[in-house]
């Protein structure tokens, strides 16, 4: 059985040709040791397991509460499977390093919290325009600035979306349990590889530090996606070609394909352009490659929603309080339902539109002063009332607060 599993894994890793056979063997051996084990781990540790299962090859970061455990665990686990771990001088350099590693052909990741995430924004923008796949984990804490290092918050929702200047689309995923930290990390890698773009995994302090049990699969329980490499000879390769999918194949530096990478708006060959037709075509492609993929990117979970009159729309750790509140409300005879967003951006527009047609009110609990609620309002378009429920005192929203809101709305 185990032999079969490793064979299958090797088969899947074929795409990353830069991985030495030795590394592959090491990786397979390492994953075999804890395969199928039931473990009690924290969200941060699960994120590490997910990253390794997805084939992480390079991590650069600067430890910061509450994301420290990700760096800590990877500093030993990643070299053990043949990957590279670097503790950088700061988050600006961390982001730059993972972009460089990704261009060189490795799956790369960094992990940080609010203050570091602010520093990374400039280079995330570079990652978007240069179309470099990478994963940025932001374990949210209270802000702004140094803020509340050990307290939970969900204040970076809009920063994740609009932290960089200029028009752009970004993919942001938000787990609410330890197991989901694992699966969504793999998905984050998959999306970044498939759509050649940085993907942000937005965790929060509660999810990051909470320990739950989960079964570590022998290998990733979700098929791992690797970036498409050019199949044409180097002289034919057009690095930023407008392909039907909108995602051009990506050659690694050192594979023999020479091309230019820049943060300037560029033409199909990667060189700066000021031609209006090329500018518009390029920026449109960056947008549409994400927009076209909405169906795959958007993950929304609903429960008790069929006959619901009041819906509680939440994400991250808040959704766990929401679920408790709704089950309590249901016991009392209320018609309450749950909508949980696993994907925050691109925003699940259709889901909210449809929801707003069926319920009288949507309650949006958030551990901030009201960020995603604006988006919900915008797409509910007055078809139902949208009620914000905000808490920003460094504590988790209690189920009773949400229950109170449900009863008040009813």
């Amino acid at each position: 059985m185990e032999k079969k599993a490793t064979e299958a894994k090797d088969g899947k890793n074929k795409g990353t040709s830069r991985q030495q056979p030795q590394q592959k063997a090491k990786r397979a051996a390492a994953s075999k040791s804890d395969a199928g084990q039931i473990v009690l781990i924290s969200g941060n540790e699960a994120c590490v397991e997910g990253a390794l299962a997805a084939g992480l090859g390079f991590f650069a970061g600067y430890p910061i509460t509450p994301a420290t455990e990700i760096s800590e665990v990877l500093s030993t686990r990643l070299p053990a499977v043949g990957g590279k771990f670097i503790q950088m001088e700061d988050e600006i350099a961390s982001m730059a390093a993972i972009i460089g590693a990704s261009i060189a052909g490795l799956k790369s990741m960094t992990a940080t919290s609010g203050p570091g995430f602010s520093l990374m924004q400039e280079n995330i923008g570079f990652g978007i325009i240069a179309e470099v796949p990478c994963v940025v984990v932001n374990v949210m804490r209270g802000g702004p600035s140094t803020g509340l290092p050990t307290n939970p918050a969900q204040g970076d929702v809009m920063q994740a979306r609009w932290g960089r200047h200029g028009d752009q689309r970004i993919i942001v995923l938000c787990p609410n349990s330890v197991e989901e930290c694992y699966t969504l990390t793999i998905k984050a890698f998959n999306f970044s590889e498939k759509y050649r773009t940085p993907v942000i995994l937005l965790m929060d302090e509660i999810v990051g530090h909470m320990r739950e049990k989960m079964t570590l699969p022998a290998e990733a329980n979700i098929p791992v996606v690797n970036r498409v490499k050019p199949s044409v000879p180097p002289e034919w390769h057009i690095p930023y070609e407008n392909t039907p999918t909108g995602v051009p194949p990506m050659a690694a530096f050192g594979d023999g394909y020479r091309y230019h990478i820049t943060g300037l708006v560029h033409d199909q060959h990667g060189f700066p352009t000021q031609r209006q037709d090329e500018i518009k075509e390029f920026l449109t492609r960056l947008t549409t490659k994400i927009e076209k993929a909405r169906r795959e990117l958007i993950m929304v979970e609903t429960e008790f929603i069929d006959d619901a009159k009041v819906a509680v729309l939440s994400y991250g750790s808040t959704s766990r309080s929401a679920r408790r509140a709704v089950t309590m409300a249901r016991k009392g005879g209320s018609k309450a339902g749950i909508v949980r967003l696993l994907t925050l951006w691109p925003f699940p527009v259709r889901a909210v539109q449809r929801l707003s047609e069926h319920v009288d009110a949507i309650i949006v609990p958030e551990m901030n002063q009201g960020q995603l609620v604006g988006e919900v309002e915008r797409h509910a378009c007055g078809r139902c009332s949208v009620v914000p429920l905000n808490r920003f005192d460094g504590a988790m929203i209690e189920p009773e607060e949400i229950l109170h809101a449900i009863l008040e709305v009813e």
Binding site: L40, R211, E212, K213, R320, T327
Partner: protein
């Protein structure tokens, strides 16, 4: 529909360094991995984890746990007086209190299970470091939230090499002393007006 059954909320509290967090992890592993139930463990994460009042919580349930924090506690185990003072009011009316009577002099209810954990660990088990193993044994015996076999397996898998025998011995002492403490608590007449504030679940 996944509605929680039998949600048991446990808090272990003490001074940072007493092994509060490790004890909670072992308890969660015993209930989750070895007893096969749903568990969720959370802990204080500030500088208090290195000194000062430190707490760690475990929620155990037979079904999916949504809200991960422990409020209105079923079981509170305190390793020192300061943590007992701070967290006693979070214990529910019918909850179980387990205290380290060596370091707790003012125990607010007569039904508490008083166990001199520090002295037992040092003198009977042979090392103060085995105190949290001992306390987990007492907790398992006195409350039954985890099976004895599960807690044994969990402690064993977390014991550093060379300390397995010490920890097993401490655990056995814990089982024994837990039973004794329950007996002692039963024999005491219940004090009146022991709690002034009543809280609803």
């Amino acid at each position: 529909m996944k509605i929680e059954k039998e949600r048991i909320k446990i808090r272990i509290a003490g001074s940072g360094g007493q092994g509060v967090i490790l004890a909670s992890i072992i308890l969660a592993e015993a209930a989750g991995i070895h007893d096969g139930r749903y568990v969720c463990q959370t802990q204080s994460y500030g500088p208090e984890a290195r000194g000062g009042n430190c707490k760690a919580e475990v929620v155990i349930s037979d079904s999916y746990i949504d809200y991960p924090k422990a409020k209105n506690l079923d079981i509170l185990m305190c390793y020192n007086q300061a943590s007992l003072d701070e967290y006693f009011m979070d214990l529910k009316e019918t909850g179980t209190l387990i205290v380290n009577s060596d370091l707790c002099s003012q125990i607010p209810i007569s039904t508490a299970y008083e166990i001199p954990m520090t002295s037992l660990a040092r003198e009977k088990a042979g090392s103060l470091q085995a105190m949290n193993s001992l306390s987990l044994g007492a907790l398992a015996e006195a409350t039954g939230v985890v099976s004895k076999n599960a807690i044994k397996a969990a402690v064993l898998s977390r014991s550093p090499k060379g300390t397995e025998a010490l920890n097993m011995k401490a655990l056995e002492i814990g089982f024994l002393e837990g039973k004794k403490a329950v007996g002692r608590a039963k024999n005491r007449a219940p004090a009146k007006f022991s709690r002034l504030i009543l809280m609803n679940d």
